[in-house]
C-alpha cells in the first residue's frame, strides 16, 4: 500500500515553528539557530517516513496525519508543589537519586532534586544551560550537541533539532565514578481533547575518560493524557568510561513515543542499555552505538510488554569499527491481544574490526493468537576473524512447563502469570542495579495481575 508522505502531519508538526523562532532568535546562540534551521529544512523536505521506507516497513505512522498538534508551551496541566508530588508516578520510592524533572517538555525546578553532586558533575536542564550558562558551557555544547544523531538520516531527529530547546544535560568529568543514579523524568500531562501536545526532549550526556554513570530516562504519562513525545539522546563515552543506561517508557495509552538514542564509545568503554516499553499506542526506539575504539563493550537489552492494539518497534544498531570489541543484544517481547512488535537488530562489522564478538537474541512470548511479531536480524560482516551469532524465537507459553506447575496444584491462570513473569525476568536479570531490577519486576508482576483479571473476565 502506498501512503501519502504525511504532508498533513508535516505541516501540523511544524506549524508555529517560524513564529516561535522569531521570538527566540535573539536569545539563541547562532550555532543553535543553525541546528534548528537545518533541522526544520530537513524535516520539511523528508517528511514522515512511510511504510515504503525499509526502516519503517512494519510501523505505520499514517495516523499522525489525522491529528492536530499543539505547539509545545511551558504550561503544565497539572499543578505540582514539591518533589513529593512526583512520588505516586515513580516506580520505586527511591529518594536517593539525583533527579531532573521535565513536565510536558519543560524543566521543573520544584520537582527536581539535584543536590550534593561531586565537583565538576553537571546535571542540569539543557534549556537553562543554553539560556544562562553559555559562557562556561557554550563551547562544550556547541562542539557536541547535535553532532552525533544525524538529522539527514532520521526525520524525527531533524524534527527534534528544529524544536531543540530543553531536556537534560549531564556531564561527568574524567575519573569521577558517580555512584548515585541520575534519574531523568519526563512527565506528560496534556489533556486537550482536540489537540495532541508534542514535546521534543533533548538530552546530551558526556561521560569523560574512566568516569562512571548510571542513567535512567523515565517517560511517564498521566492516565488519559494525549501527546506525542519525540525524544533524542546523545550519549558520549570517553576512553574507559562506563555508562549503565535504563530507559523506561510508561507513556499514557493514547500517546505516541519516538526515541533516538545515539551513543559514541571510545576505546575500552562500556555501555549497557536496558530499554523497557510498557505504554503508548505506538513506540519506536532507535538505539545506535558507534564503537570508535578497540576493546569497547556494548550490551543492548530490551523488554516490551504490550497488549490491546499497542505497537512497539525496536531498532538497534551496533557499529563495530575497531578490533576486539564485544557486543550483545537481548530483546524480549511479551505480547497479548492484538499487539504488534517489531525488532530489527543490526550489526555492522568493518573490515578492520577483527576479533569482534557479537551475539544477538530476540525472543517473543505470544499470549494470544492475534498478536504479531516481525523480527529481522541484520548482520553485515566485512572482517573475517569474528564470532557473530543471532537467533530469534517466537512462541507461546511452554505447555510442558504449564502442565508441570498445574500438576502441583497451581491454577492455570497463576501458572501462566508465573511463566510470563519468568520470561520477563530473564531480561531483568541482566540489570546491573538490583534496586531497579526489583522495582521493575514488581511493576511487571502488578501489570500481569491486571492483565490476568481482564482475561478471566473474558473467559
Amino acid at each position: 500500500m502506498f501512503e501519502s508522505t504525511g504532508t498533513n502531519a508535516v505541516t501540523a508538526l511544524t506549524a508555529g515553528l517560524k513564529s516561535l523562532n522569531r521570538n527566540r532568535r535573539h536569545t539563541m546562540p547562532t550555532w543553535l539557530t543553525a541546528i534548528r534551521d537545518e533541522g526544520s529544512k530537513l524535516f520539511e523536505k523528508a517528511g514522515l517516513p512511510t511504510r515504503r521506507h525499509e526502516e519503517w516497513k512494519y510501523t505505520d505512522l499514517s495516523a499522525l496525519n489525522h491529528k492536530s498538534f499543539s505547539v509545545p508551551t511551558p504550561n503544565a496541566s497539572v499543578e505540582f508543589s514539591g518533589p513529593s508530588d512526583l512520588l505516586p508516578y515513580l516506580l520505586s520510592q527511591q529518594e536517593a537519586f539525583v533527579r531532573l524533572v521535565l513536565v510536558d517538555g519543560c524543566y521543573s525546578a520544584q520537582l527536581s532534586t539535584v543536590n550534593n553532586l561531586p565537583g565538576g558533575v553537571e546535571v542540569k536542564s539543557l534549556g537553562q544551560v543554553l539560556a544562562h550558562d553559555q559562557d562556561r558551557l557554550g563551547p562544550l555544547l556547541s562542539r557536541h550537541l547535535a553532532n552525533y544523531a544525524m538529522p539527514g538520516e532520521n526525520s524525527f531527529v531533524a524534527l527534534n533539532n528544529a524544536y531543540l530547546e530543553d531536556g537534560a544535560f549531564v556531564y561527568v568529568p574524567a575519573g569521577v565514578k558517580l555512584n548515585m543514579p541520575v534519574h531523568l523524568v519526563y512527565l506528560s500531562t496534556s489533556h486537550q481533547s482536540q489537540l495532541t501536545a508534542v514535546h521534543h526532549p533533548r538530552n546530551l550526556v558526556i561521560v569523560e575518560k574512566d568516569a562512571q554513570l548510571t542513567l535512567i530516562e523515565d517517560y511517564i504519562g498521566v492516565a488519559g493524557s494525549n501527546y506525542f513525545n519525540n525524544t533524542v539522546s546523545e550519549i558520549l563515552l570517553g576512553e574507559g568510561a562506563d555508562v549503565d543506561h535504563y530507559k523506561f517508557q510508561r507513556e499514557s495509552e493514547d500517546a505516541y513515543h519516538i526515541a533516538t538514542i545515539q551513543v559514541q564509545q571510545e576505546k575500552n568503554s562500556r555501555f549497557s542499555s536496558q530499554n523497557l516499553s510498557f505504554g503508548s499506542q505506538l513506540t519506536r526506539n532507535d538505539i545506535n552505538s558507534q564503537l570508535s575504539g578497540p576493546g569497547a563493550q556494548c550490551q543492548m537489552n530490551g523488554l516490551s510488554m504490550i497488549r490491546g492494539s499497542q505497537h512497539v518497534d525496536n531498532h538497534t544498531l551496533i557499529h563495530h569499527a575497531y578490533p576486539d570489541c564485544t557486543s550483545t543484544q537481548l530483546y524480549h517481547n511479551i505480547m497479548d491481544e492484538n499487539a504488534r512488535g517489531v525488532f530489527n537488530g543490526k550489526i555492522y562489522v568493518e573490515p578492520e574490526a577483527q576479533k569482534t564478538d557479537s551475539q544477538q537474541t530476540n525472543r517473543t512470548l505470544m499470549l494470544s493468537r492475534h498478536a504479531r511479531m516481525d523480527t529481522k536480524p541484520q548482520l553485515e560482516i566485512f572482517a573475517d576473524d569474528v564470532k557473530c551469532s543471532h537467533g530469534a524465537t517466537v512462541g507461546r507459553i511452554d505447555d510442558d512447563a504449564l502442565y508441570y506447575l498445574r500438576s502441583r496444584g497451581v491454577s492455570a491462570g497463576q501458572a501462566r502469570k508465573m511463566l510470563t513473569q519468568a520470561f520477563g525476568q530473564r531480561m531483568t536479570n541482566l540489570f546491573r542495579l538490583d534496586s531497579i531490577k526489583e522495582a521493575i519486576d514488581l511493576f511487571i508482576a502488578d501489570r500481569l495481575e491486571e492483565w490476568h483479571l481482564l482475561q478471566s473476565e473474558n473467559n
Binding site: 512447563a401 502442565y403 506447575l405 498445574r406 500438576s407 496444584g409 491454577s411 492455570a412 508465573m418 530473564r426
Partner: protein, 251 residues
C-alpha cells in the same frame, strides 16, 4: 482410593491402553512393571491429567468420584501427586517460590492457612535435609541445570512437602546411581503410612528392593497381564520381558 475400571485410551487414533483394571487402597504400595511401549507412561499421564490422551472407554475413580473431568490442578489439590520421569526445566521460575505457591494452593483448598515465606523456608529446609539436598537448590530455577539425580530428588522433595494421598512415581529410578536410589527410596518409605497410597512405575526390579511393594502388576501391550506379590517382580527380572509374550498370548 483409586479405581481404574476397564480403561481404554488412544492417542492420534492409536490405541494404547486396552482395558486396564486396577484398584489401589490406602496404605498400599503397588508396583507397575513393563517393557518400553507397554503404556506405563500413558497410565501416569492419564491419572495426572495431561491433555492429548483420549479416553475411549472406562472410568477412573478417585475417592469414589470421577477423576477424568478434573483439571490437573484440581487433581493435585485433591491429593494426587506424580513424580515425573523427565521433569521439565523452567528457567526464570524460582524453585522455592514455585513450591511455596503450590503448597499454599493445596493448603487453601484443604481449608488450611497459607504459609508465609519464613515458615515455608523452615519447612522445606527440613525436608531437604532428609533427602540430602543442598539449600542452594532453593535459589535456582525449577530443575534448571539439575542433574538427573537432582531432578528426581526435587520431585521427591515436592512429594514430601505437598503430602499427597496418592503418589505415583513414574520411573523415578531411571538415571540414578545406587546411592541416589537409596536416598530417594528412603524418602518414599518415610512417606508410607496407612492413609496413603503409592504406585511405583518401574522398568527394573532394582528399585523394588528398596521400596517393597505389596502388589506387583505387569503391564504389556496396554493391558495388565499378570498381578502378584513381590516375588512376581523377581520372577520377571529372572525371566526377562520376553516371558510376557507367552503370558500375553495366553489371554
Amino acid at each position: 482410593m483409586l479405581e481404574i475400571i476397564n480403561l481404554h485410551t488412544s492417542i492420534g487414533g492409536k490405541a494404547i491402553l486396552k482395558g486396564i483394571n486396577l484398584k489401589v487402597n490406602p496404605g498400599e504400595v503397588h508396583a507397575v512393571m513393563g517393557p518400553n511401549g507397554s503404556g506405563k507412561s500413558t497410565l501416569t499421564q492419564v491419572i495426572a491429567g495431561r491433555e492429548g490422551y483420549e479416553v475411549t472407554q472406562g472410568q477412573v475413580l478417585y475417592k469414589g468420584k470421577n477423576l477424568l473431568d478434573n483439571p490437573p490442578e484440581l487433581r493435585a489439590r485433591e491429593g494426587i501427586f506424580v513424580a515425573f520421569q523427565y521433569p521439565v526445566e523452567i528457567p526464570g521460575v524460582n524453585n522455592s517460590y514455585f513450591m511455596r505457591t503450590a503448597l499454599n494452593a493445596i493448603r487453601k483448598h484443604k481449608g488450611l492457612e497459607e504459609l508465609d515465606a519464613f515458615d515455608f523456608l523452615a519447612e522445606v529446609k527440613k525436608h531437604m535435609k532428609d533427602i540430602g539436598m543442598s539449600p542452594d537448590m532453593l535459589d535456582r530455577s525449577v530443575n534448571e541445570g539439575f542433574s538427573g539425580g537432582e531432578k528426581k530428588r526435587n520431585e521427591i522433595l515436592q512429594m514430601t512437602l505437598l503430602q499427597p494421598e496418592l503418589a505415583i512415581l513414574d520411573e523415578t529410578d531411571s538415571g540414578l546411581d545406587i546411592d541416589a536410589l537409596k536416598i530417594v527410596a528412603e524418602g518414599v518409605n518415610r512417606y508410607r503410612t496407612p492413609d496413603k497410597a503409592i504406585i511405583v512405575i518401574t522398568h527394573y526390579q532394582r528399585l523394588l528392593d528398596y521400596i517393597k511393594p505389596d502388589i506387583v502388576h505387569v503391564l504389556a501391550g496396554g493391558r495388565i497381564v499378570k498381578t502378584g506379590e513381590r516375588e512376581l517382580a523377581l520372577e520377571l527380572e529372572a525371566r526377562g520381558y520376553d516371558w510376557l509374550k507367552e503370558l500375553e498370548t495366553g489371554i
